[in-house]
């Protein structure tokens, strides 16, 4: 397909580009007993390999691919495998910006940013430009449009804040992308990959709570687990976890039956070693069996 590359804006043969890297979708499917991913808003619909569009030329697609490989090999899989400290270089910020740029571009093109006020929209468009120029090497930093990374791999414990009984399944088994604004002084791009939320600031009124999670331009280290995070982000994720639960509950009986039949084809070990059941078990361990099963039963 011929067209104009969304990134470098040159005429080209457009490649099919993923909004969320394909390896992440593949990892989710590979660690699920059903090997299927479903669209949140239409859970009866299966997703093959995520959202993808003819957006980029081969050169720009190659840039994204290079950073995705870096993130997969140096950060995603090592953290999933429990490595205690990860050192990163310039490729990590490039990867993160490439994700938040794609998400923001997607939301704009899907006309899902119409709730932005005039001032917020101006900042959003500036963030998009700066991120594009940073990706293309025309800017050395993403300026005020910082990137932040959180690590929620593993099991949460000692949580004293109100917590959704779907929290591990949301954090670990759901991809959730969004562009959020209050129309005044705070806007951000939210790209929650499995276990690892990425945040791109568009406008942030209070940065104090976010200092520890900033992705630096040249290099840095990632802790094995996020031990502090903004309260507001935690509360936001609880709401998204509850939203995700409602979406799952809206699955038709026919689809539930199909999933059940998929499980019945598998061995006990395959089921109980899957990421799906491990995250369910983490919810049980955190909040107790009654909070998981009995409350959810009432939602039937």
């Amino acid at each position: 397909m011929n067209g104009i590359c969304r990134l470098c804006e040159q005429p080209c043969i457009l490649q099919e580009s993923h909004i969320i890297p394909k390896f992440i979708v593949s990892w989710l499917k590979d660690t699920s007993p059903t090997a299927k991913l479903r669209m949140g808003e239409i859970p009866n619909k299966r997703v093959q390999d995520g959202l993808k569009f003819h957006w980029l030329c081969s050169n720009c697609e190659a840039k994204f691919s290079q950073w995705e490989t870096y993130f997969a090999e140096k950060i995603f899989h090592p953290l999933i495998n429990g490595e205690s400290k990860i050192y990163y270089d310039t490729n990590f910020l490039k990867f993160s910006v490439s994700i938040t740029w794609r998400v923001l571009k997607y939301f704009i093109e899907q006309n899902q940013t119409s709730h932005f006020s005039g001032e917020a929209e101006t900042k959003m468009n500036r963030a998009l430009l700066i991120w594009r120029d940073f990706i293309l090497g025309k800017e050395l930093t993403p300026h005020e449009f910082e990137q932040h990374f959180f690590n929620f791999e593993g099991e949460l414990s000692n949580i004293t804040l109100p917590t959704s009984n779907n929290i591990h399944r949301y954090l670990q088994r759901t991809i959730d992308i969004n562009v959020i604004t209050n129309g005044k002084n705070t806007s951000l791009v939210y790209a929650k990959l499995p276990n690892f939320p990425l945040i791109g600031y568009i406008d942030m009124y209070d940065k104090n709570q976010w200092r520890e999670t900033k992705i630096h331009v040249k290099q840095g280290t990632l802790p094995s687990k996020s031990i502090s995070f903004p309260l507001e982000l935690w509360e936001f994720m609880q709401k998204r976890a509850e939203h995700s639960k409602k979406l799952k509950n809206s699955l038709s009986e026919r689809q539930k039956q199909k999933i059940k039949e998929s499980y019945e084809q598998l061995s006990y070990d395959e089921i109980f070693k899957s990421g799906t059941i491990k995250s369910l078990e983490s919810d049980i361990n955190l909040l107790g069996t009654k909070n998981i099963f009995i409350e959810d039963e009432s939602n039937e």
Binding site: P33, L37, G40, T181, D206, L233, K248, F272, T276
Partner: protein, 54 residues
């Protein structure tokens, strides 16, 4: 079998839990979702971000 699984297995020996699980487990077999639409959440998101912006 790792240690985490034993929690679930232990609970399955509890009749109340097992009955509840047997009745509703179909609802727990799906975890993997891709959510990429903000529209329905607009009000709650706006409320939340009001808080972030304080």
């Amino acid at each position: 079998m790792n240690k985490r699984l034993s929690t679930f297995e232990r609970e399955m020996k509890n009749k109340e839990f097992k009955d509840s699980f047997d009745k509703s487990y179909k609802n727990f077999l799906l975890a993997e979702l891709l959510i990429a639409t903000a529209e329905r959440d607009q009000i709650s998101i706006k409320n939340l971000v009001e808080e972030i912006g304080k």
